[in-house]
Amino acid sequence: MHVQSRRFLSHLAIGLLMAATANLSQPAAAGNRAFHTKLKNGMDVVVISDHRAPVVTHMVWYRVGAADEPKGHSGIAHFLEHLMFKGTDKIAPGAFSKVIARNGGQDNAFTGQDVTAYFQRVAKDRLPLVMEMEADRMVNLKLREKDVLTERNVILEERRSRVDNNPSSILSEEMMAALYQGHPYGIPIIGWEHEMAELNRADALTHYGRYYAPNNAILIVSGDVKPDEVMALAEKTFGEIPANDNAVRDPRPGEPPHRAARRVRLEDPRAGQPTMQRVYLAPSYSSAEAGEAEALDLLMKVVGGGSTSRLYKDLVVKQKIASSAGGWYGGSGLDSSRIGVYAVAQDGISLEQVEKAADAIIADVVANGITDDELERAKKNYLADYIYGNDSQSTLARRYGWGLAMGRSVEDVEAWPERLSKVTAEDVLGVARKHFDLKRSVTGYLVPAEKKAERKDPSAQGKTVSKS
């Protein structure tokens, strides 16, 4: 799951844009686009006006995610997210999305390790309706036992689709479990299958009762609307719900010192070409020291971002040992995050050789850093991404939603381009030396296995997972 969301996160995790026409290397002090305040019950409200099309994006973010689940109940945050569509006294079971659709709207929801969010996209005149419905289900959820049991089968099928049918997802799950030794980020968001199979109505309602409250939530509205219109509606809907003092997550277990590099090897007949992945524990935008996360973004763009990156140019273009290669930083976690590199071996090339080549690139960056030219180019690219992102009210809503859910302020979010532009090559060298630390890493190999004789039981197929 973190694989699927990686791009999404790194683009969202952060801040905002610059005044539109500015010279890219000198972003103007970001024109404060977003309005931010709190309701009396403590709910954050952010409004981003964009009057180009007569539509709005409405989101409610809860500061709770899979990493807040009680031990042994993995998957409950995501399961509850599904169950939130099962109705209240006002909305019949299963009718929520249908009502939105009848009103020409689209809706969905998502769960991460740190957040759970619900959203609708509607014509602006339907905003009152969706705010009323979202406020209603914040505290009035009604769950019927049979709906819970049926939906549990749905999330088990979802797990099969996302993970069990896909060896690279299985490898990612194993790598995360190996990377995190104490912290719950090592447990998959969707949950371990045997724990999911036991989740029940009471688990869902306990999680709901504890965390779904206005003082633990952030309302984001972007689009063709003004702050005072949103505030008037918010006070009448979410504003009527009392705060819940217990709706605060407990501190999570931390990580012990990591003392040994870990390796995971998955052999599976369903694997395509042999693939190498490496993840290193790294700080996130929320947990990093000032400027570190921005420097990590720039570092990984230079090391692994696209066909001009060092990994691609060396492994794919020059040495011709990989058919693809790259790297990334996903800076979105509340407590920590990761940097990573990957490569797919060409026919006849061993993963060991590919890994060695990737290690040489990393060693060079750690020894010599990046050039000023590379740095400037990476900055321009990120800043351009933010302007491209400004074209979309959904992207804007997620940027602010994510930022606030991670404990940052609107000002932090909007000052991102400025902070990014201040990063020096020296800063990048510093984070490279600090965080390319093999002792805090997991290296994963995915290797096609020869097909075994036919078996009846697919769960017993030839996959071996070893950690060392």
């Binding site: 799951m1 969905n108 060409q346």
Partner: protein
Amino acid sequence: MISKTTPANGMLRAKIALAVMAIAIFSATSDARAMKIQEITSPGGIKAWLVEEHSVPLMALRYAFRGGSSQDPEGKPGVANFLTSMLDEGAGEMRAAEFQSKLDELAIRMQSSASRDAFSGSFQTLTVNREEAVKLLRMALNEPRFDNDAVERMRTSISTGIVFDSKDPDKIASREWFRIAFEGHPYARSVKGSRESVAAISGEDLSAFRKRNFAKDNLKIAVVGDINAKELGVLLDEVFGALPEKADIKEVAQVVPKNGPIRKVIKMDVPQSVAQFGHGGINRKDKDFIPAYVLNYILGGGGFSSRLTEEVREKRGLAYSVYSYVYPYVHASIYFGGVATKNEGIAESLKVIRDELRRMAEHGPTLEELVDAQQYLTGSYALRFDTSTKIASQLLWIQVEELGIEYVDKRNGLIDAITIDDIKRVAKKLLKPDSLIVTIVGRPSNIADEG
């Protein structure tokens, strides 16, 4: 990050998007800010649709050449797709590394893709870099280099992708479905080709495909953003002006998918079986296409408002994702869908789906369902036009489908005009639950391998 609903995969998502676009015409919105579409003809005679939007300093351009992978040479499927990967691999005097470095430096977003019917591209640049960016686009379309090392690099990359696809249950099920349904027709071939066919494609093949397909008479262009009509006219001549007047396109026969029932099981050790099903559809130009599109929303296209989701997922918990769509290709049309259920339950999922198709064919939807569908489809139309890139896509595919600029205002009216009698008649005509082609990848219980 995981969501309540997910389209099954990227390719599918693209297909759904296209199917939606097939009737995606612009809202006859009463809003005063309704966008204005200008039909531009450049001094050199190149036509494009333009929506000016000066509040964000960027420009999105989309283009399509009709043809696509159905124009791949006999025995060499995969040429059009291969060409998509070569347009940023060096052009004019610039070799691949230099060209990509320039794109990167200017933060240009340039991509292309091939479908069975078109070679299309998207291009985005910030206003400050527009002049230089446009030069690169011109070079990519007119003077791609096809240097040997770049061709080999992309061959390896495509070939690796084909290996991955050959282990992906969704992709296998879909590939088999098309192979069976369109046997003997170019649509039966995979857009990417096979490892063997890709191995045989040369730089000359790529160059020849470009020369035959990139021409003014099969080109459509849509532009949205920070540019005015006069500036766009100059840009169009610069980028597209040197292309030949006429494309050299092979005739492709109209085709009807093979008649079912046909079932094929492809054995694979996965815990969940992936099934795809479908049969022939209704052509885009047929007056019954829009009723069929609305019908499919009710049956399998409307997410949580659809009967398939209600019966398979909501009532029985048999799947996370179940869907169907109507898709009008240029030379054929299909009704198509998919579901994924654990091996022990896939037979039941398919039975429920078949029963729902039958129930819909026999009785049609209720009036309430029709009205709900009309309200969603007309009310949500504006959501497809809220970013420059989305608007450009919509306007491009309206042109490719030859629906006409005036259709933009008519679209919601056409949906609202459908009566319950229309849709019942079209349900009977479209749905053939006993003639489905079904492909299943997995270890399905209680399903014979063929039938």
